[in-house]
């Protein structure tokens, strides 16, 4: 890849719109080109400023109440002239071109793995995305923050569902940041942590059919966990049945470390709630 090709693909790269194989080409170029590295750092700074600006404002509490009041009033009687809003077809959020075959190839190439494991599709996708987001010159995050509350609010705004982040207490562990992603084409939140000097990825999505394929079931302290190894990576996932969520973690560290993170997450109490104010009683009961 030349500098010209690199710069031509810079925007889609930073916007997470490049197929994974081209992302790897970009990483290869970055590894050898100081000038492009400096450019990408400058670009990434502009983007992080935009994200920092984006999360600054919160609507006043009274705004939701006013919306509900107006909507409640509208719901009590039909309006004469109904405004028309454009209907737009749905296209799922996702990384373009991130096909399963590509992921498996990428994982095998990066991890240099010819291990005995036969990973299921979920393991392959988690491993590929762990490498994609956490490795490279700088982690591919949309929001860099150690503030779990800010991170949770930002993610929930993008995903439309609540997430539960682990409560960290040790000095050598911290949240680095996160981004929106997908797992099996389903919207997912991605969080990057540093624990004991290692980068650990945490994914949050909704339960997936056939997730158990290729995983080993374990029960630790009453928590049902599914573990797998792929190349040099350890992976674990678990479900929060009450909230209907699937959580998964990946790291180059040991399985024990991931299990510890899973238990921290499970025991972190109730997930933060999305802003869903109580509906006016007259309407909520019909």
């Amino acid at each position: 890849m030349t500098c010209q090709q690199f710069l031509g693909a810079l925007d889609p790269y930073l916007d997470d719109e490049l197929p994974v194989t081209e992302v790897l080409d970009m990483h290869e170029h970055l590894a050898v080109c100081e000038a492009c590295r400096r450019i990408i750092e400058s670009e990434a700074t502009v983007r992080s400023l935009l994200t920092a600006d984006a999360v600054q404002d919160t609507p006043p509490d009274s705004l939701r109440a006013r919306v509900l009041q107006r909507v409640g009033a509208a719901g009590l009687g039909p309006r004469d002239a109904r405004p028309r809003a454009p209907w737009l077809g749905f296209l799922p959020v996702g990384l373009a071109g991130l096909g399963l075959m590509g992921l498996l190839v990428v994982v095998a190439v990066i991890a240099g793995g010819k291990g005995p494991e036969v990973p299921g599709p979920l393991a392959a996708e988690l491993a590929a995305k762990h490498l994609l987001y956490s490795e490279g010159p700088r982690p591919a995050l949309a929001l860099t923050t150690a503030d779990a509350t800010q991170m949770t609010a930002w993610l929930e705004g993008r995903l439309g569902f609540s997430v539960r982040l682990p409560r960290l207490s040790r000095p050598d562990e911290r949240l680095v940041g996160g981004r929106a992603s997908t797992i099996a084409d389903v919207p997912a939140g991605y969080l990057l942590y540093e624990r004991h000097g290692r980068r650990v990825s945490l994914f949050v999505t909704q339960p997936l059919p056939s997730a158990k394929l290729g995983w080993t079931e374990r029960v630790v302290d009453g928590v049902e966990l599914y573990t797998a190894a792929l190349g040099g990576l350890k992976l674990v996932w678990w479900e929060d049945e009450a909230e209907h969520r699937l959580y998964a973690a990946a790291s180059t560290g040991g399985e024990r470390e991931l299990v510890e993170l899973a238990l921290l997450c499970v025991r972190s109490g109730q997930p933060s709630r999305l802003d869903r104010p109580a509906l006016p009683s007259a309407m909520s009961n019909g």
Partner: protein, 187 residues
Amino acid sequence: MEADAGGRKLERFGNDVLVYVTDLYRAALRLTGRVSDAEDLVQETCLRAFECLEQLKHPPAAKVWVFSILRSVFLRQAERASSRPALVSLEDIDASRLIASETLQDAYENFLPVQQTLVDEVRRAILKLPLAYREAIILAHIAGFSYREMAQILGVPLGTVMSRLFRARRMLRTSLRESRNPSEAPR
């Protein structure tokens, strides 16, 4: 029976639309530049979304759908107001297929550190952008939409989304650079 339907509709509105009120407000604030106008815009958007909620057939598409409504309401309000928003000409926008040399030249010419830029300056720089470019920045960075979703909301091809974003970021960089180094502003 009718009351049950109303309750269900309101519950659906809460789940599919109201969850995005923070993102809608942030976008509205950067579109209008004023808190009171942003609040009005969000209220009107939500009301319209509620009224035509039955058009939302696929709940995962709710965010794209409600942002399309926000944009439509904003453009209508802007049209009604005497002062028109700073629209760029169609020629400027849609002669906008990027060529490789443009991206290369841009990267080197505009490569100046912006690390010291304050977030407030970023806000001001966004508000100064012409509407077509401001929309692109808002949808990508405030609301977190993909190129494809932005193309749906704006009703333009994917390539136009990419070129608008590219130019919007270039304008932002220039504006931020000038705000840090006024002497470099074009005379």
